[in-house]
Symmetry: C2
Subunit: 237 residues, 2 copies
DNA sequence: CCCTCATAAATGTCAGACAATTAATGCGAA
DNA sequence: TTCGCATTAATTGTCTGACATTTATGAGGG
């Protein structure tokens, strides 16, 4: 095997090959956001393959939301501007898949989630703005409804923590973390909260907002540890 | 736009539709790892579309590494076991793409990286084992070579921190974090380390290993803050 | 027993056709 | 002139049928 270039084995999957070539063009900047790729016919001629093969390659790229296609006279395939929302959705989906398919236990997932979140406590305390506090208080109000289903309670919890990580003001951080938290949601959804558990969570949430308002990151960290322990207790009951 | 159900508009892209259907079958457990999908002909008949369309759908799934295909008599499309390695590679790739395409500045990326890492300091201190320390010390030795290129220095740094997050013993955590760190690597690669900078980083690394060995998570956190500041200084010089 | 060859099943690839969509063009009427 | 509308061209979406390639299996002969 002297050939360890870009093509491990050329014998199969032309469409994967073509997709990879175009992918590299996007990665290295030959193609930038909103550029139009050549038409399918042109691509097929340029790469010496049939249009069907080119189409399969383009579908691969579309599945990674690297390109979008438009029909009609001025249509074609265009390089997608990779938004944080795209990446977020993709990551959350990957995380969900991984967690459900690998039977990750809830303790491990909880531990991971709170460990990650803890990391942004100080940054959030430093950069938080009023609307973050408002969003979090709004979710706390929702959480106080006793009729709320466990699932809705959990969804509100996710929104609360999403606002918390957004408060860091760092898009990379909030994107990564939000995806992680959402990826773990299916597991959290399996928890059943007794009213006592909910009360405990809610008072911790309130204390967290207060700490965030007062910009005391260290206190926020401690509260997060409590919340982790509380959640773990709920999970194991 | 009252319709926000699963199907935004059914009028186009049958292949995306089919892909989504199969995807759901995998997600909800109708299809589990290593299950064989029906053959392309059977699928085309079952969904009432041509084989070409089915193939485009399958390529979409393959691009997300949800399935793999094998040729020959016993061939077909098989549901992939979603390994942590797969998810890791996918996430790192997404992160790289996002960061290069959005011109995330290095300060933001650094801040995110160290914030995330900080979150697992205590857990790592609690769960670390001998081989984690060994791996980290090995990387430190590499980093001491003055002839090391900036790129190799950076790669060793990534390996060092990878070992650090592995020390948490939490696969979800180390998967998420490792992907984040690697995703940021292209940016870190643009840094030029003067010898003085390298020395500073190396002594911090050594102190970190010591703190980890002594299982003092709080000290590890402080050292990480130093390392963040040091890296930011390097970045801005 | 082992080697070879034929066979069947499946994916990979191709060529050509038609349908559907969409912007631009041209033209006629008010 | 300007508005409205049909025409046209370009492009993706889909279908059909064919052939190439790969791979397991089984039959037959040495």
């Amino acid at each position: 095997m002297s050939d360890n270039s870009v093509s491990p084995q050329k014998h199969t999957d032309l469409s994967a090959d073509i997709a990879e070539r175009i992918r590299q063009d996007i990665l290295n900047g030959s193609l930038v956001a909103d550029d139009r790729l050549p038409s399918e016919s042109e691509l097929s001629e340029a790469h010496g393959v049939s249009r069907a093969t080119v189409r399969e390659a383009l579908k691969r790229l579309a599945a990674q939301s690297l390109i979008r296609t438009k029909r009609g006279a001025t249509g074609g395939a265009f390089v997608n501007r990779q938004t944080f929302e795209d990446a977020y959705a993709q990551m959350a989906s990957t995380a969900k898949l991984l967690i459900t398919l690998n039977e990750v236990d809830i303790a491990t997932a909880c531990q991971a989630r709170f460990a990650l979140e803890r990391g942004c406590a100080r940054l959030a305390a430093k950069n938080r703005q009023e609307h973050h506090l408002d969003a979090m208080r709004h979710e706390i109000d929702r959480q106080k409804y006793p009729e709320l289903s466990d699932e809705d309670f959990c969804a509100s919890d996710v929104a609360f923590h999403r606002a918390l990580v957004d408060a860091t003001g760092n898009p990379v951080l909030s994107w990564q973390l939000a995806a992680a938290v959402e990826g773990i949601e299916p597991l959290m959804n399996m928890l059943t909260y007794r009213q006592r558990d909910r009360d405990a969570v809610i008072s911790l949430h309130e204390a967290m907002v207060d700490a965030l308002e007062a910009r005391v990151g260290s206190r926020l960290e401690i509260l997060m540890d409590y919340l982790r322990d509380q959640t773990l207790r709920t999970a194991l009951s």
